[in-house]
Amino acid sequence: MLENTVQMATIFSRRNSLRSRIMQNVGFTLLFLSILITVIFLGSIIYFIGINGIGVMSWEFLTAAPRKAMTAGGVGPAIVGTFYLTIGAILFSLPLGLACAIYLSEYSPRSIAVNIIRLSINNLAGVPSVVFGLFGLFVFVDYFHFGVSILSGSLTLGILILPGIISSSQEAIIAIPQSLREASLALGATQWQTIRKTVLPAALPGILTGVILSIGRAAGETAPILFTAATFYSRGYPTSVFSETMVLPYHIYALMTEGTHPEKQTAIAYGCALTLLILVLLISALAIIIRQRQRNKML
């Protein structure tokens, strides 16, 4: 070990010459270039969709239903559909995910069962989104006879975002100082009272961040709802949880691959993409701001 260290020191000092300084400069330049290229790539997506999409943006575009075989009118029903699906997904996965996070961080005895739960959360998070779609198609659409509907789509999306909700809630709960819990228990509160009145309120901003990020994810997902909820055209707004619905992300895909007026449809697709992009970026920005403020408060 010592010999090795001395050897390394000699190598470094001998090489700490002009050549190694040049190496360092070249290396750092390459790193700078890579982040520059990354930002340019991703910035250009926002730029192109922005300048092409802004033209079709209007109040009518955001609220009206499509007209003339998808070549005119707006995408109101698709925006509303996205909203319903996302709310449905959260309603399903938040209670479930929160309960799971509470169990893992507050009650969990270090046991094999807990390890299995952890492993399955990690693996569920890695399942491709289209596979969730297959699962939703078989279980909700066919087996439970919910049909292609808001209900089936919401449940499918809910399972998709469950792992994210669990891990972000768990992180938020673990970050609460142990002393808070001890103080509550010392006052004679039971464990459940401590969780409900002390731990959860303190962890709320963190949990909220996770929920908002999951909303952003659910709003943009397309593959899981392809066969469980989405339709290219509906006459008006969905009327019940059993009706199929237009959805923003799917609408972009459908406009680009179906229909008979590619030119006009592309323009509308740009509008949809811009709407979705703004929606998702605003949602994520909100989550990041909440977290940043929370961090500053804790420091």
Binding site: L42, S120, L124, L277, S284
Partner: protein, 294 residues
């Protein structure tokens, strides 16, 4: 009484905590159950190594080799784009960016990670594909190359933020020891910090790969969709995910085609499962090595 209520809450949470396991097992059961008819009919070897995918011919042929190869080509291509750029960005953030730059760049990258895949697919279809078609003089812009490029760009933020996390776990003392030996910043970075964060970085790359294999909408829109064994990067291909997404709408429930699509889902599931387990094992070892608990 009080204790009784406490126990009820505890058991309730314990039951709900098994939800993820329940869904994971549910997915496996559904995929197997629905895939078995085609595996029984065609035979597993013929299914996986069959070279022709003609699900609507009569008799139909279900050979998924072209689809599996397409997935691997596109994923490998995406890695060539996102590994250097993602790691480069992570290293820049970790080593060179000052606090103010970091305070801006990190949230920006995180924000970009949230861009939906359909937006990437759309961008690839209307901007990148026509551009590449003209620039490279191809018969179509929708090729394995285009799909790799877009998927690669998409995966950069994921790899960058995971790798940056891994780098930040390397103890400061490692760096200080290296400086004390007279190494400059670049030498410290390449010979001390990167090797120490090695397994964390490989976890990031594997998770990026797993995402790229499972990505659906982007490849559905830009890969072109021809179910042939790929020969060059500049022709259309049909990866597994886009096959499921494109054909499930037409497949009749219970038909061999339907079963074949579930079988593709099963293959996809198993591939990503292996990736995730490998990533899990590596990151567990890594945490032990750096003396981090859990």
């Amino acid at each position: 009484m009080r204790q009784f209520k406490e126990n009820i809450y505890k058991s309730l949470f314990a039951i709900l905590a098994f939800a993820s396991l329940f869904f994971l097992v549910g997915i496996v059961i559904v995929l197997f159950k629905e895939a078995i008819p085609v595996l029984g009919g065609t035979g597993i070897a013929d299914f996986i190594f069959g070279k022709s995918w003609y699900p609507t011919y009569s008799p139909p042929e279900f050979g998924v080799l072209p689809l599996i190869l397409a997935s691997f080509w596109v994923t490998a291509g995406a890695m060539v784009v996102c590994v250097p750029l993602g790691l480069g960005s992570a290293l820049y953030l970790h080593e060179i960016a000052g606090n103010r730059q970091k305070a801006i760049l990190k949230p920006v990258i995180e924000l970009l990670a949230g861009i939906p895949s359909i937006v990437f697919g759309f961008f690839g279809m209307v901007i990148v594909a026509p551009f590449l078609q003209n620039a490279l003089n191809l018969s179509t812009g929708l090729t394995a190359f285009t799909a790799s490029l877009i998927l690669g760009i998409m995966a950069i933020p994921t790899i960058a933020s995971l790798a940056e996390d891994a780098l930040s776990y390397v103890p400061q003392s490692f760096k200080e020891a290296s400086y004390a030996l007279g190494a400059n910043r670049w030498q410290t970075l390449t010979r001390v910090v990167i090797p120490a964060a090695g397994s964390g970085i490989s976890t990031a790359i594997i998770l990026g790969m797993s995402r790229a294999v499972g990505e659906t909408m982007t490849v559905l829109m830009v890969a072109g969709g021809a179910a042939v064994i790929p020969v060059t990067f500049f022709e259309p291909v049909r990866p597994m995910t886009s096959t499921i997404a494109a054909e499930m709408g037409e497949a009749v429930s219970g038909s061999p085609h339907y079963a074949a699509l579930f079988a593709i889902g099963l293959i996809l599931f198993l591939i990503t499962l292996v990736f995730n387990i490998v990533a899990e094992i590596i990151s567990r070892r890594y945490r032990l090595k750096l003396g981090l608990s859990r």
